[in-house]
């Protein structure tokens, strides 16, 4: 078990180093100069040059890479070119929206998907199964931004239950903040829940066909008992994988939903920074997302081991 984890840890760290190099180089190749972007088309060339020097853009490439990595290792992400505040501060503010939103959406998606998937699998080919399959088919097909706009139209413009978007900040209290995140979380969660429910169903159906399920029934367990005690746990591995992938997707991929609801999240920060060529922010956000994906992958690996004792004993 320890060797297994160590090996996973090492390979994930290596991915992080490789990612940092790729991110840095890609950002350097992209055309566009942060200083000339900030100064606009009427600017004096001398003033642009002065700004470049002030921002440290004149230093040679390898020096800037090493400076960036050294800073990262000490938890110093540098100072944003355009906002002129520490990048870590910017990211911290945005994470406080993106992370709760991701968790909220993931919780909703899991809460919907588990019962729906289990219901469909245990009553296969029943009316319940068919309606779950139909609904999830629709859920997968509908683009989340379109669904988000419909939510805004119904709940914000017509019913006035929610604001059309924006985020009051956690200072405004827990409930107002949660309320602001509710429509975005629903919009994000529904397509994810549809995918998850389908995976849950097919994984469970596979397990229910296994020999040990017949044995469980043979020793006198009811259908429900057998399902809860033996099938669910065995069906969980593919579901956990999907949840892990969905977490990364939601954290990084909330950008469209963040735009529809004008939420100041991580995705919008990255998007804004790219258009303004605030390269230092782009790099830091991307490396942070890579780090988050890696950590989640690692946690999912750990969860496999918890769900399946055989993985814990295996000496791979």
């Amino acid at each position: 078990m320890t060797a297994y984890l160590l090996r996973r840890f090492l390979s994930l760290s290596l991915s992080l180093v490789a990612a940092s190099l790729v991110i840095f180089l890609v950002m350097e190749v992209v055309p566009g100069d942060p200083a000339s972007f900030m100064m606009g088309i009427n600017a004096d060339p001398q003033a642009v040059a002065a700004l470049r020097t002030q921002l440290g853009l004149d230093e040679p490439l390898p020096l800037r890479y090493l400076g960036w990595v050294a800073g990262l290792l000490q938890g110093d992400f540098g100072v944003s070119y355009t906002y002129r505040v520490p990048v870590s501060e910017l990211i911290a503010e945005r994470v406080m929206i993106s992370l709760p939103l991701t968790l909220y959406a993931l919780a909703l998606s899991t809460l919907i998907a588990f019962p729906a998937g289990i219901l469909a699998a245990s009553r296969r080919n029943s009316a319940a199964d068919l309606s779950v399959m139909g609904a999830t088919q629709l859920g997968v097909a509908i683009p989340n931004f379109w669904f988000a706009m419909i939510l805004v139209l119904v709940f914000a413009i017509n019913l006035r239950w929610f604001s059309a978007g924006g985020f009051p900040g956690w200072d405004a209290g827990f409930w107002p903040a949660i309320k602001a995140l509710t429509l975005p979380a629903i919009a994000l969660a529904l397509p994810q829940a549809s995918i998850l429910a389908r995976v849950m169903r097919s994984s469970l159906i596979d397990t229910l066909n296994e020999d040990f399920m017949r044995t469980a029934r043979a020793k006198g367990l009811s259908r429900g008992q057998a399902l809860r005690r033996h099938a669910l746990r065995n069906a969980l591995i593919p579901v956990l994988t999907i949840i892990g992938l969905q977490f990364s997707f939601l954290l990084a991929g909330g950008i469209i939903i963040e735009n529809v609801f004008y939420l100041p999240g991580l995705g919008r920060l990255a998007f804004q920074a790219i258009t303004q060529r605030d390269l230092i922010v782009v790099r830091s956000v991307v490396i942070l997302l890579v780090f988050a994906v890696i950590v989640v992958t690692f946690l999912v690996d750990l969860a496999y081991a918890l769900a399946d004792p055989r993985l814990r004993r295996r000496r791979t």
């Binding site: 000339s36 100064m39 600017a43 003033a47 505040v85 503010e93 006035r160 604001s163 107002p176 100041p264």
Partner: protein, 496 residues
């Protein structure tokens, strides 16, 4: 069991929604939320060109010696009056007294000297450094009087001092203005939630006419659909520069809203690379100009909002000359000119930055050019890419840009400017204009400059960008025009 907390949460959410939906119908509202498409990268107008900076802080947080009025006139601000010497070289400004910065420090002549010297210093990062180029020295006469000496007469000096880039800052706080702006204006910064909003609050120590609002919130909503929803849901009270003109009809039909149509300083041009063959031939440029049907572009790309222009000058300026007839839509003439120039099978690159005037207008222009036998290769570029490729490297034939700085015809005199005109005769006109202080003479020279660039068909002049906005019908005092990029909130109030 698990259902109970969820049900409780749902009920409390509902109750909250109801509570928020009911607004007390007591006294007039004292706050306003204004929508903006782009967030300012920082809040220091002396250290960046982004229009969004001035749109938040101009006249609200920072003030200069002079300022723009709603109609574009130059009004006194921190300087209550001034005297100009007969040779036009010395400006003596009498300053308002009892003015305090938001941090409580006093404003006096030393701050003026500091601000102007800082903007024109060698290591200055002021985006409009040229505004200060003619200043030879700034001298403090006494705390309420400051004398500015110019190296040569400059008839637009008072105009230059009204720009957001020329606001007065304090030596104690100037370095931190990007994140914590400290000015002398009637509003001070309460909070900046990055990516979401900037909140300004009334500054009680303000020296001038008190403002009518307690709080102004600028909210950044870039997506046009989201902006529409936010207006419809009353989340924001006004959106002075609404990003989607196609939605204005819907606002117009709703009595809750008032649609505000004004003019801006944005001359939208089809810029041509004057040094790139065959566009270095004036006949080819003239052919391009005659191939363009301005009204079709205004109708097709801007939903009818915009004023056709025939030169690089704002139509609402008294010195404007209507030269649209000189480059009227005439495809036959265009074909004849191309034949005369001996050009056939012409393919030109057309690089389009993100705004809809460029992307939508570009496709219409491409079709119009095809009608006279000019093919175009359209490339969509981001702003940063445009700055690099078109603006700096001049790697383009045609591009569409709106030049939004006020009175910026002077760019045609720059040698290395992206459309590469820099004609000697034009520069001579500009030099004379700089020296002239007599209004009649200035008007004459400005008109000569407009005619010169129209005669040389430097660029295709399309239209003056309209400022199309929407506001709650009860919110009054929002500037319809934008003589400079600003949302002056000092005169805004709620009716009733």
């Amino acid at each position: 069991m698990t259902n109970k907390p969820i049900a409780a949460a749902a009920v409390s959410l509902l109750a909250l929604g109801l509570a928020l939906g009911v607004t007390p119908a007591a006294a007039a509202r004292m706050d306003a939320t204004i929508g903006m498409q782009l967030e300012p990268p920082n809040l220091d107008p002396t250290g960046g060109a982004a229009a969004a900076i001035d749109e938040v802080v101009y006249a609200n947080v920072f003030e200069g010696l002079t300022r723009f009025g709603a109609d574009g006139s130059i009004l006194p601000a921190l300087a209550k009056s001034w005297e100009i010497s007969d040779d036009g070289l010395t400006y003596t400004f009498m300053l308002n007294e009892g003015v305090k910065f938001h941090d409580g420090t006093d404003f006096d002549a030393e701050d003026v000297k500091f601000s102007l010297d800082r903007a024109r210093a060698d290591d200055s990062t002021n985006a409009q450094k040229a505004l200060f180029a003619d200043i030879a020295s700034v001298d403090v006469v006494d705390p309420a009087t400051v004398k500015v000496t110019l190296s040569k007469p400059n008839g637009s000096f008072l105009f230059n001092m009204a720009w957001g880039d020329a606001v007065i800052v304090a030596p104690e706080s100037a370095a931190d203005n990007a994140a914590k702006p400290v000015g002398t204006g009637p509003f001070k910064l309460n909070e900046w939630v990055k990516g979401d909003r900037v909140e300004l609050g009334r500054y009680d120590g303000y020296w001038g006419t008190p403002v009518k609002l307690d709080k102004v919130t600028f909210k950044f909503i870039s997506d046009p659909t989201a902006a529409f929803a936010a207006m419809m849901a009353d989340d924001i009270d006004a959106y002075p520069t609404f990003p989607a003109p196609e939605n204005l009809v819907q606002f117009e039909s709703d009595p809750r809203f008032e649609v505000i149509i004004g003019s801006s300083e944005g001359e939208t041009i089809l810029a041509m690379n004057n040094k790139q063959a065959p566009l270095d031939n004036v006949k080819v440029r003239q052919a391009v100009a005659h191939a363009i049907d301005r009204q079709a572009i205004i109708d097709g790309a801007m939903f009818g909002y915009g004023t056709p222009i025939g030169t690089h000058f704002a139509p609402h300026n008294p010195a404007y000359v209507d030269l649209t007839a000189q480059s009227a839509y005439d495809p036959e003439k265009s074909k004849a000119l191309l034949a005369e120039a001996g050009v056939s099978d012409l393919t030109l690159s057309l690089k389009l930055p993100p705004p809809s005037y460029a992307r939508r207008g570009g496709e219409i222009i491409a079709a119009q050019l095809r009608d006279v036998g000019i093919e175009t290769e359209i490339t969509n570029v981001e702003w940063a890419q445009w700055l690099d490729d078109v603006f700096k490297a001049k790697n383009f034939d045609l591009t569409i840009v709106s030049h939004t700085e006020p009175m910026d015809i002077g760019i045609y005199g720059r040698d290395d400017y992206y459309f590469q005109y820099g004609d000697a005769d034009f520069k001579a006109i500009m030099a004379d204009l700089d020296k002239a202080t007599d209004p009649a003479k200035r008007t004459e020279l400005m008109q000569a400059a407009q005619k010169k660039i129209a005669d040389d068909y430097v660029n295709g002049y399309l239209f003056q960008l309209a400022r199309t906005g929407v506001s709650n019908a009860k919110l009054k005092g929002i500037w319809p025009n934008s003589p400079t990029q600003a949302n002056d909130m000092t005169g805004v109030y709620w009716e009733d």
